[in-house]
Symmetry: C2
Subunit: 383 residues, 2 copies
Amino acid sequence: MLNFDFYNPTHIVFGKDRLGELDRFVPANAKVLVSYGGGSVKKYGVLDKVKASLGEREIYEFGGIEPNPKYKTLIKAVEVVRKNQINFLLAVGGGSVMDGTKFIAAAAPYEGEASNLIKSGLTQIKTALPLGTVVTLPATGSEMNNGCVISYEDGKFPLFSELIFPRFSILDPTLTYTLPQDQVANGIIDAFIHTVEQYVTFPVEGRFQDRTAEGILQTLIEVGKKTIDNPNDYDARANLVWCATMALNGLIGAGVPQDWSTHIIGHELTAMFGIDHGKTLAILQPSIWNVRKKQKHAKLLQYAERVWNITDGDEVSRIDLGISKTRGFFESLGIKTHLADYNVTADMIDDIIKALEKHGKRALSETRDLTLAVCRQILEGAM
Amino acid sequence: MLNFDFYNPTHIVFGKDRLGELDRFVPANAKVLVSYGGGSVKKYGVLDKVKASLGEREIYEFGGIEPNPKYKTLIKAVEVVRKNQINFLLAVGGGSVMDGTKFIAAAAPYEGEASNLIKSGLTQIKTALPLGTVVTLPATGSEMNNGCVISYEDGKFPLFSELIFPRFSILDPTLTYTLPQDQVANGIIDAFIHTVEQYVTFPVEGRFQDRTAEGILQTLIEVGKKTIDNPNDYDARANLVWCATMALNGLIGAGVPQDWSTHIIGHELTAMFGIDHGKTLAILQPSIWNVRKKQKHAKLLQYAERVWNITDGDEVSRIDLGISKTRGFFESLGIKTHLADYNVTADMIDDIIKALEKHGKRALSETRDLTLAVCRQILEGAM
């Protein structure tokens, strides 16, 4: 096992009918910015319930945080915060709203040029506004981690700071019932790939970490299709919500190698072609594993055996079956897994490679030997 | 899945050669009380390293915290803290030292009569001194939770408060290499039973929780005998240390029923006969499962299948085999599993029942139907 630090102070408030407890967690005299996305939280009444629960507190609203939240949108919220001396942020939404709100929390008290926070990370911040979240889309794990991904100019930038952990996150699975099927499917895949990025690497005797990762993957496989087909099945949805949180709160990645090449290449596909984040992962993962079978041999074999119960046949064929079952799982959720399905053609690969190069992504993966030439193979294999 | 809150702000510092980082976590101007147990931390040089790492800070020592730490011992440390205006506590040891130090942290600033904290719990405290831990014995999970068990008069009292979470815990598996085999075995069983108390109950669709619990149990089974036979095998010991922490930090018990009757009855056996805590659990658990097969049927079956890979035979025989394999595992670690092995005879059962009654333990388990009459059956079955 590798040495590690694990620290996660977010208070999770999980279950049915927990929105009313906002009053417990938001300071009584707070001036609160409630941030949200495209308006579904208005449409389905979540915003009204949030406001009712905040009672007499002074509330400001900032809607319109888009998927893959943009710096230029968020900076407008920063202005609202500064102008009104807002001192608590409440994100109501999915990963993009939570990520965007984390950036607002860091940028609002920052005295330098806010775009510096994107370019040089959040390491230079000394403080951030306190924030909480109400989760309406299970996927990114942002509700219980210290990261956010912000779109700036032509790239997506992951930023991290202990100062942007949410103070609390309310996870009421019933708030996610109204999500479109496609978004739920994207979320399932996002949580699945978060898990394998920290698990399908090389073995270091992280037995707890491996088994916890396998437990998340098995659970997502069991409940994925079920929760899409029956959105109001509480237990299926609750298991998805909790697994999505646990997949990226630092626990399963503590003390083991981490990959993240699927996400890094995927970010370019989102930035260039507007493909949903979850879908970019479903496209890339099978191809990455096909190309990286040798480096990931031991863990792919373990994955095939423990997650998919594949024990017959030689090692290579077990690994291949594990990969094809993974693709089959994504497709079973209604997600296409080839670049061609999204109108990305072979002649565009050069541009993707150039974008990766421009963003400094020349040596990816847990072994740092996934070069741009290997990226090309992966993209060709994902056609 | 049941509704739950999960909150755990302890910063874990895990791995080889981490003691030097104490300087990072203890405030530079702190007056520190270093608390420890019977002196093995002196003998093996851990205390010297801790003091070196604390540098110029003003250090006080309090040794002699015994197993099942006693109120009357701890209250002496409280006096030392008050007299010297100590403002940071550092526990160096195992569960008893950590538990005792947590109590000192709560009692030192408490203005009422300290024994009230035992009788009415820690709910009335408004503040506690900050504390950190350096773990030398993997077992209780105290390094990453908000509880402590204190011996007072003729009973053992579990106390809880969010204010006594350690700020940080340093878990360097190599610091545990010098432990006697017997203590390691006790620790393995303690972690194992912490896990089953939160897992072998009744099913509520807590899939992540179940699988994480199963992962801990499987890991303890895999590394238990190995780490006793080869104390210097880093990976085996590291897996034990991390599993012991994860077994009782709130994670696997969040959103699922919890039992704790093994611990509650076991506390009486320790208080009355001085049997090591881990050994009381090894004695009681097989008998509790034998007596409670009906109430725990579904989870015992799942346990037999997923933890012990028992899939052949009818359900009752699978459960029986799971129970006997559990007993066999404890015995393989050198721990005897019958009351008679500890010179407790059938005529003493009346007194144990009386003690349980006196301490108000009339309705135990996740279903609150484990009465004193059932306790008697369990104790008879544990002979």
